[in-house]
């Protein structure tokens, strides 16, 4: 229980635990209700009751007399077990969950929201999925998206590798949205795949009737059955509940803090549009890998000590120096405009080159290519050994640099990897279409 201090003491001394039906007598009023737990960050002066009407209230404990009416049963999540029969006519799709709650179950009695992780929970809350495929579920970790670390990318890649190896026709990864595009980029570099790998999540929590989780999941399972053997992100295309886009895992970014259609393809167009489980491959999806054309391969070496630094008008070389001194193996610098940073950074960047630490330049503009040949600052940066990130997203470049450094420590080789298109992260040609899509 989360109660602490005075409230906890009072509950304990009155022999009352969470779930009990009690009365709280005050000078002028008596409340009756079921004791609920309190959020961890709340004060210790109130006890939360769920009234018969369903409302929660907080009752101040000062001059309160607590009386037990009825001992409560410990509320437990009691889902009826499902007997899931495999249907040989349906494809086997694996759903791997990393902790984003794509499904959750509300206990209306206590108001608690239980995240659902197992395939069974998923199928209970989204029974329609059963009509689409034989779903196999696996929860590999349970962490918030913002707490994702490169080591979890590796863990995810290995699980996906195993699933495909064991015959999965496609894999869906349920993921929190905050860092989904980092993970999608990482999986794009680490896995060469003969089947679709689709990453999805929800911007509206799945306990609400308006959640985007269901449609995202439905379309993801459908995408996992498609011909697109790529690592992709499947999220809402617009604010409407009409469809999702499939974005290339290396060219997608979370662009809004809260909207459903937050994920946008940057410097490319979405690969496909999903409507009610039907896929429409878009003209922009040129050169995608068809199912079965690539052999499954896992390249999961990552160098975790890579820094991702944003340039700003007042920045000075100390920040670069700090990372060099701390032993970072690579730096992605998100510069301004065509790929610039203030002059005062150049000595530190030269020092990085001396240390054989690659520095990759991307742009804060996000849209468009880095080109350091146009202005003198850019040319000085090139001279200092800064590697151009092309039209790569900063986040993608950061992930790619970790991966490149996992493969080689040689500056020249890393440079070559960074400048070579590995997983669709670099587009040579900038189409007029690719802006604010």
């Amino acid at each position: 229980m989360n109660y602490r201090g005075s409230a906890k003491k009072l509950l304990e001394s009155s022999g009352i635990s969470i779930g009990d039906l009690i009365t709280i007598e005050k000078d002028d009023v008596t409340y009756q209700g079921m004791v609920l737990d309190r959020s961890e960050d709340a004060d210790d002066q109130h006890i939360v009751l769920k009234m018969d009407s369903g409302y929660n209230i907080g009752v101040n404990i000062s001059s309160s007399n607590l009386k037990l009416v009825e001992k409560g049963k410990k509320p437990k999540l009691d889902l009826k077990p499902l007997t899931i029969k495999e249907d040989p006519a349906k494809k086997d799709i694996s759903i791997i969950s990393t902790g984003g709650t794509v499904a959750s179950i509300i206990d209306y009695k206590t108001g608690a929201v239980h995240p659902a992780f197992t395939a069974e929970d998923l199928l209970i809350t989204n029974p329609e999925l059963r009509d689409m495929a034989n779903i196999k579920g696996k929860a590999i970790c349970n962490i918030l998206s913002e707490n994702m670390k490169p080591e979890y990318w590796v863990k995810s890649a290995r699980s996906i590798y195993d699933e495909i190896n064991e015959g999965a026709y496609g894999v869906v990864v349920a993921h929190g949205t905050d860092t989904m595009h980092y993970t999608s980029a990482a999986l794009s570099f680490m896995l060469e795949t003969p089947v679709p790998i689709v990453i999805t999540g929800a911007q509206r929590s799945s306990d609400r009737p308006s959640s985007d989780a269901f449609l995202n999941l439905l379309n993801s399972v459908s995408a996992a059955k498609s011909d697109l053997a790529e690592v992709m992100v499947c999220m809402y295309a617009g604010s409407d509940d009409t469809g999702c886009y499939l974005h290339r895992g290396t060219k997608v970014r979370k662009m809004h803090t809260s909207r459903r259609d937050t994920f946008r393809s940057i410097n490319t167009a979405p690969l496909a549009c999903m409507k009610e489980g039907e896929i429409e491959i878009l003209p922009g999806a040129k050169g995608y890998n068809s199912r079965g054309t690539v052999e499954l391969k896992l390249n999961d070496y990552l160098e975790p000590d890579v820094a991702f630094i944003k340039s700003f008008p007042g920045i000075n070389g100390e920040i670069i120096d700090y990372h060099l001194d701390k032993g970072y193996k690579g730096i992605v610098l998100e510069g301004t405009g065509l790929g610039h940073c203030p002059d005062q950074l150049i000595p530190s960047l030269e020092r990085a080159a001396d240390y054989q630490v690659p520095v990759v330049m991307t742009s804060q503009c996000m849209y468009g290519k880095v080109n350091m040949n146009v202005y003198s600052t850019g040319r000085r940066l090139l001279k200092a050994g800064v590697i151009s990130g092309g039209d790569m997203l900063g986040e993608t470049a950061y992930v790619k640099l970790s991966w490149a450094l996992g493969h080689s420590e040689k500056l020249e080789e890393v440079k070559k990897i960074m400048e070579t298109n590995i997983a669709g992260e670099i587009e040579e040609k900038s189409s007029l279409d690719y802006f604010l899509l």
Binding site: D28, S39, V48, S53, I57, Y108, S206, P209, S239
Partner: protein, 629 residues
């Protein structure tokens, strides 16, 4: 069949009539409850239309809420009209809510205090599941502010159980075959929900409670006008069941509505008893009766791809039985069927009719094996819809064996009610985790309690005692919201309260009624006009013409009085005029002496055109005659 002659005839106590009232009132705050948008409705063309579907979520027992499930079955698509300025991402369910609107919370505590309620120590915002599309999130945000209040009525105390502060729902604009269209302008306007306990026991008492609650609400900052207050009524009798009637607009209709609902419940109980006596049954089979109507004269049936029938054994005569004026048991069946998208049903109690021949009725009965005591219900529509509609009728027909069923019903204009949906179960709420809990400290509550607005009745009584106004004038001042203006004037000027009150309560209204716009008339101008009266510069009859002139010409009251030649004359001017008249009528004055007072008074007053006080004229005239003689 004879309908019950209701009215005072019914013995409410014997019937065990119990009623509860639930009132929803929009607050007139600067912004919405959980976002900075204004609380005004708009008729502008929408800048955006957003398409959404709602999905019921599952509770721990795997049991979806009854009402939620019902809505989900309709598989409606919802279209939301949104605006770039008038609404924001919060209403569109694309952004978490902003912190609670403190102005709304304060108003809620004011009303709670006026209703003698106990205010919570801590306010928790809840999500109440509503998946009819009226809330983009699929839930309404609501929280309990106060409990344990009461109201005195002429028929005893009524307990005010709960006062909740919640968001208003989106506005339903139209329903098409494609789904329902809502406008987001109303979504999120702060709303007070006030519920009484079900102890109201007389149809007239419920009206009184509603009236009093309205009075209390109107003493604070609430919205006025159509749709800003909504009343729901819970009605049950001892052997009946709780029925919630939504959207009772007219207070005067409340007693009638109660009477008609009681009548409906009595009839349903009668029907139950008859069914049990007849050992009636609802047959499981749904027949395909298309072949019965091969060359039918009914256009509806002829054009429908499928015609389905349901046999109700032992229901003959009961389906057509009137349970409310103009509404039969069949109407109840029909309301259930309509939820599946059909426009209505046919039943054998009303046939032959509507182009269906008696031969077809006989064939229908033969086909389904129905005898004289049985009824057959038919629905003509697409296969799947007709089937679903009859399943609904079957479900409703089975409920007849329980007598009255718990339902949410819609108030119809003439006092009847129509089925809307099952009563929601109570398991629809969980905590809104996006909004922190809100502590209401006791000093805050005390401060609000020390500054409570006067409720209308107290205000009226004070007007009578403090200013010696008639009950009628006091009532009008309160009703027309003129008490503040009145007191402001009385604090500034020494005038007869009755004169001022009748100006505010009646004269202004008459001017408006005569087509004079009084919009530009502020209290300062009014005080300036009345100041002329206080200083005896004008007569009280001059006020109306002056105000008309002021509003038309945008002049000051003084200027208006001058322009209209309504300023009172000074004593010396009066003397001059009287002197002039005496010299004109010299002969008469000489002849009749003081006896000429009477005739002269008439001539003088005519000349003065009311610009001098009669008493003054009388005095000056008397003196002047004496002097002359």
């Amino acid at each position: 069949m004879i309908l019950i002659d209701y009215g005072d005839f019914m013995d409410w106590e014997k019937l065990g009539l119990k009623m509860g009232l639930e009132i929803h009132q929009q607050l007139d705050t600067k912004s919405k409850l959980f976002c900075p948008c204004s609380c005004n409705l708009t008729d502008k063309k929408a800048d955006y239309e957003i398409l959404r579907n709602l999905r019921p979520t599952q509770s721990e027992l795997g049991k979806i809420d009854r009402a939620a499930f019902q809505e989900a079955r309709r598989k409606l698509r919802f279209l939301y009209e949104a605006y770039s300025q008038e609404t924001c991402l919060v209403e569109a369910d694309e952004e978490p809510p902003c912190p609670l609107n403190l102005e709304a919370m304060e108003l809620a505590i004011v009303v709670a205090s006026l209703l003698n309620m106990k205010v919570m120590d801590e306010f928790h915002t809840m999500r109440k599941q509503v998946i009819d599309g009226s809330n983009t999130g699929g839930f309404q945000r609501t929280g309990l502010v106060a409990t344990h209040g009461f109201l005195e009525t002429s028929q005893g105390k009524v307990v005010i159980e709960n006062l909740c502060l919640e968001e208003d729902a989106a506005r339903r604009i139209e329903t098409t075959s494609d789904g329902v269209k809502f406008r987001l302008d109303r979504l999120g306007i702060p709303l007070l929900e006030i519920t009484t306990d079900p102890s109201i026991h007389h149809p007239e008492q419920v009206k009184e409670v509603a009236y009093q609650l309205g009075q209390v609400l109107r003493s604070t900052k609430v919205k006025r006008g159509l749709g800003t207050i909504r009343q729901d009524l819970n009605i049950s009798i001892r052997d009946g069941a709780r029925v919630e009637v939504k959207g009772v607009q007219n207070l005067d209709l409340m007693p009638t509505m109660v009477q008609r609902e009681v009548e409906r419940q009595i009839k349903l109980i009668e029907i139950r008893d008859t069914l049990l006596k007849r050992e009636a049954q609802v047959e499981d089979e749904i027949f395909d009766v298309k072949s019965v109507f091969e060359d039918t004269g009914s256009k509806i049936i002829a054009s429908a791809p499928a015609v389905k029938g349901l046999k109700l054994t032992g229901f003959a005569g009961l389906v057509g039985m009137e349970i409310q004026p103009g509404r039969r048991l069949g109407t109840e069946f029909s309301s259930y069927a309509k939820k599946l998208g059909v426009s209505g049903i046919f039943h054998t109690d009303e046939l032959p009719a509507y182009g269906i021949s008696s031969r077809e009725v006989d064939r229908l009965k033969d086909f389904t094996g129905a005898g004289a005591e049985d009824a057959v219900i038919i629905v003509a529509h697409q296969e799947e819809i007709a089937q679903g509609a009859l399943e609904e009728v079957k479900r409703r027909a089975l409920m007849c064996f329980d007598g009255v069923v718990e339902e949410t019903r819609k108030a119809l204009p003439e006092g009847n009610t129509e089925y809307m949906r099952p009563l929601p179960t109570s398991s629809r709420m969980y905590l809104e985790t996006d909004i922190p809990t809100f502590t209401i400290t006791r000093p805050q509550v005390q401060k609000i309690k020390n500054n409570l607005p006067e409720i209308p009745r107290a205000k009226k009584e004070r007007m009578e005692s403090e200013y010696n106004l008639s009950e009628d004038l006091a009532t009008q001042l309160v009703k027309r919201d003129k008490v503040d203006d009145f007191e402001n004037i009385m604090n500034n000027l020494k005038l007869d309260p009755t004169v001022v009150a009748s100006l505010l309560a009646y004269s202004l209204r008459e001017l408006k009624r005569d087509g004079h716009s009084m919009d530009s008339l502020d209290s300062k101008t009014l005080i300036n006009a009345l100041k002329l009266l206080e200083q005896d510069k004008i007569s009280k009859d001059a006020i109306s013409p002056i105000l008309i002139h002021v509003s038309q010409k945008n002049s000051s009251p003084q200027e208006a009085a001058e322009a209209l030649d309504l300023l009172m004359l000074k004593e010396s001017d009066v003397e001059d005029i009287i002197q002039k008249i005496i010299s004109q009528k010299e002969d008469m004055v000489k002849q009749r002496g003081m006896g000429s007072m009477g005739p002269l008074m008439g001539i003088v007053m005519k000349e003065l055109k009311g610009k001098a006080d009669g008493k003054l004229v009388n005095k000056v005239l008397k003196e002047s005659i004496q002097k002359f003689l």
